[in-house]
Symmetry: C3
Subunit: 339 residues, 3 copies
Amino acid sequence: MADPRFFPGSGAQRLSDVAAAAGASFTGDPGRVFTGVAPLQSAGPGDVSFLDNRRYAGLLATTQAGAVVLAPAFAAQVPAGAVALVTPQPYLGFARVARLLHPPPAPVPGVHATAVVAPDATIGAGTEIGPYAVIGAGARIGSNCIIHAHATIGPAVEIGEDCRLHAHCSVSHAILGRGVVLHPGVRIGQEGFGFAPTPEGGFETMPQLGRVLLGDYVEVGANSCIDRGSQGDTVIGPGTRLDNLVQIGHNVHTGRGCVIVGQAGISGSTTLEDYVTVAAQAGLTGHLRIGAQARIGAQAGVMNDVPAKTDVIGSPSMPVREFWRAMAKLKKLGTGREG
Amino acid sequence: MADPRFFPGSGAQRLSDVAAAAGASFTGDPGRVFTGVAPLQSAGPGDVSFLDNRRYAGLLATTQAGAVVLAPAFAAQVPAGAVALVTPQPYLGFARVARLLHPPPAPVPGVHATAVVAPDATIGAGTEIGPYAVIGAGARIGSNCIIHAHATIGPAVEIGEDCRLHAHCSVSHAILGRGVVLHPGVRIGQEGFGFAPTPEGGFETMPQLGRVLLGDYVEVGANSCIDRGSQGDTVIGPGTRLDNLVQIGHNVHTGRGCVIVGQAGISGSTTLEDYVTVAAQAGLTGHLRIGAQARIGAQAGVMNDVPAKTDVIGSPSMPVREFWRAMAKLKKLGTGREG
Amino acid sequence: MADPRFFPGSGAQRLSDVAAAAGASFTGDPGRVFTGVAPLQSAGPGDVSFLDNRRYAGLLATTQAGAVVLAPAFAAQVPAGAVALVTPQPYLGFARVARLLHPPPAPVPGVHATAVVAPDATIGAGTEIGPYAVIGAGARIGSNCIIHAHATIGPAVEIGEDCRLHAHCSVSHAILGRGVVLHPGVRIGQEGFGFAPTPEGGFETMPQLGRVLLGDYVEVGANSCIDRGSQGDTVIGPGTRLDNLVQIGHNVHTGRGCVIVGQAGISGSTTLEDYVTVAAQAGLTGHLRIGAQARIGAQAGVMNDVPAKTDVIGSPSMPVREFWRAMAKLKKLGTGREG
C-alpha cells in the first residue's frame, strides 16, 4: 500500500526470505513471493501484514493478506491461503519485513557540487553529502553516512559511520557515534542557557565550554534541541530516542535506551539512568536523578528525584496510583458528588 | 501605520472599493481615498480602522480614523467626518480591507540561479523559486507559488497552486493542496516516532511508509512538525490552521477547519473531526477521536475521546464546568477557606 | 578541561589579569599563569574554578584548582597553594574569567563567495557573512556581526552592531538592536496567528502589518519563534533572554531583562514588565499584564494579570503559597491520609 513514488520497494521477496527477516516459522511454499506490507484491513495477497494487539484479532478472519506476522497464540486464526509467520515478537518481526520490502534509501556516494567542505575535513568512503551542506574545518564524517541538503556541521565535529543527518540540521561542538539519526531541523551543540546577572541589571553569558556526545544509534526528532554542556558534556546514551520538539538542557545525561516523547523538556544537569521513558510534554527541572526504567507520564512536572522502576505523573508529579486517586476525588469535587 | 519599508501598500484606494472589499454599506463620497489601516487610537484621516469588540466602543468618540468597519449597532457612534463601513462581520471585512491596502507580495516568476532543481521536476507558470531552494526528482509544483530561500522539497512531492513555502521549510513524502502556507522552519513528512524493542535492549525503527496530505488552504506555523504516516497517511483537512511549534504525530487525521494553537501536540493516530479547536500547549494522547466542534482548552491533557461540541480542559481533561468547580474547591483548600 | 578542538583558548593568562576580569581581590604572585577553567572536582593547578553555592563548599578542601573565584565568607577554606579570588559576585566573576581564557570566536570579516546579498543591502565594517546566507533588498547589517551559514535576512531588516545570527535563522520584518544573539533555527518576524472566519466555513488571514523589535543584547534560543505584530509591533526589551523552543505571539511586549525558559509560550498582546521570569513550559493567554519582577512557575497556566513581584504557579495559576497548600491537600486525597 506504500505509495511507490515515495517508497519504491525492493521488488518481490520470497517467503523464505521474508520469514528469515521476521525471525518467524511458517508452513507453506518458501518460493511464494510478496511485494509489500499493509494493515490487515487493506492488505492483498501480495502483502505481508501483522497482528500485535489482541484487540484486533477479529480482523484475522476477513483479511486478504498473503501472510501475517503474529504470535503463536493467534496462528490458528489465520485464514486458509494466508501464511502465518509465527514469532514471539511480531512487531519487531514485522518491522524487519517492512524494511526488507522497503529498504531506506542508501547513500549515493559523493559530494554535491554545491556543498562547502573545509579542505581539512575528512569524509568516509561511501558517504553522500547533499546540496548546500556546509562542513567545517577539521570535521570528520564516517563512512556510509547521508548528510542531507542544507545540513551544517561545525568545525571539529566528529560523526560516526552509518549516520543520517536530515535537511536543515545544525551540529556544532559535538561527537556523534555510529548509526545516529538527526531528523530535519535538529539543533545540536548550541550554547546552553546560562548567564550571570550584573550589578547594572543586565546578564552576562556564562561561556558554555562543554560538548554534546551522542551515543551509537541515538535518534533525534525534528526541530528538537540539545544544548552543549557548560563545563562538562551533555551526554545522550546509546540507543536513546527523542521525538520532535524536545528540549535537552546543558549537562543533561541520559542512559542507554531512554525514550523521550514529543515536546518534553529536560532541564540542565538532570540525569536519566537507563531505559527511562519521558512521555509527551513532560518537564523535568534541573539537577534531578531519574532511576532506571522509571516512567514519567505525559505533561508531568517533575521537581524531585524519581526512584528506579517508578511511574509518576501530574504537575507536580506524584506516584501514578496516588495521582489517579487524587484525580477521582478532585472530579467528585467538580461534579458535586463528593459522597 | 504599517512601516512602508516592510509593507509597501497598494496606494490610495477609493471608498467604493474599500467598501466593496469589506462587504459593507456606507454613506459618503465614493471617491474619497484611503491609504492605510490602523487601530482606532492611532488612525488618521487617511486610515481605515475597525471595531469588533464592544469593550472598545468608547474609542469611537475620539478616533481620528477616516473610516471604521463595524457592526450596524455601532454605526451611529462614528464621529462626524468619518465613514461608517457597516457589515455584520467587521473583523472579516477589515481583514479584506487590510489586504486591499497592503496586498501580500506576489510571486516574481522564475527560478533563482542558485536553486537546485531536479531535471524532471515540474514547476508551474508564474511560480517563484528562491535562492538555495532544493527541489527533488519528480517533484511537481503548481502555478503561482512562492518557494522561499532554502526550502527543500523532496522527491515526488506534489504542491498545488498558490502555495507559499517560507524560508527553511522541509517537505518530503507529502502532497499539498492549493493555497497551502508553510511558515519558516516547518517540517513536513519526516519519519514518525515508531520502533520495536529488540531482545538485546535496543530499538529498531518501524519503517514509516505513509505520507502527509495537506488539504487546500492549510496553514502551518513556524517550526511546527507533521510526521508522515506509518502505513496509512497523516491527513490535515482543508482550511485547518496550525500555529507555531505544534507537533502532529503519524497517522493523525484532522477534519476541515480545525485550529491548533501554539505548542499543542497530537499523538499518533488520533482523529479530530471538523472544526475542532485545540488551544495552546494542550496535548492529546494517541488513538483518540475528538468530535466535531469540540474545544480542547489550553494545557489540557486529553486521554479519552471527546464528544462533538464539548469543551474540555485540565490535565487530565474534564468537562469545562466540572473543571472550574473543582478548581474553585481546590483553591479553597489552598487558602484554607474551605467552608 | 574544555576540549581544545572546540574551544581553543587564549593561552596563558597572568593572575593579575584573571583577577581583574573577575573583579576580585587576591593574595599571591600576580605573574602566576592560568590556562583554563574547570569545576572544583576536576580542575588542575593551571585551572581557575569557582564556588557559588554553599552546598559545594566541602569540595574546597580537596580541589586541585590553582585558583577559585568565591565569596569572602569562603576565602579561608581555599587550600594552601591555591589562590582565593574573592568577590561578592563569584558567578559573574567566573563568567568573565572563563571568557578571558576562552573568548568566543571573533568575526572573520568578509562575505563568503556563496552568500546572496542584495546589491542595496549594507554591511558594516568587520562583519562576517557565512556560506549560503541570504540578505534581502535594503537590509542593513551593523559592524562586527557574524551571520552564520544559511541564515536568511529579509528585505529592509535592520541589525545592530556586534550581533550573532547562528545557522539557519530566519529574520524578516524586524529591527534588531546591538549585541543581539539568535541561536540556530530561530524564527523572527513571520506572520502572527490571526484570521477571520468566513460565512462559508473557511478562514481568511488578517494581514499582519507590524514588526518585531528586539532590544539591545536580547538573546533568543534555538528554534524559538517570535511572530511580528498584527498592527503594532512585537517588542522584546533590552537584555531579555529566551531559551529554546519558546513561542512569542504577535504584539507581545516584554520589558527589560525578562527571562523566558524553554518551551514557554506567551500569547498575543500580553505584556511583561521589566525583569519578569517565565519558567519552563509555562503558558500565558493573551491580553494579560504581568507586573515587574513577577515570577511565573514551570508549567503554569496564566489566565489573569499578575501583580508586580508576585510568584504564581499551577494551571490555572495561583499564588505560590496557595498552590503548595492545595497540592499538599490533594496529595492527602491521593494517599487517603486526609486527616
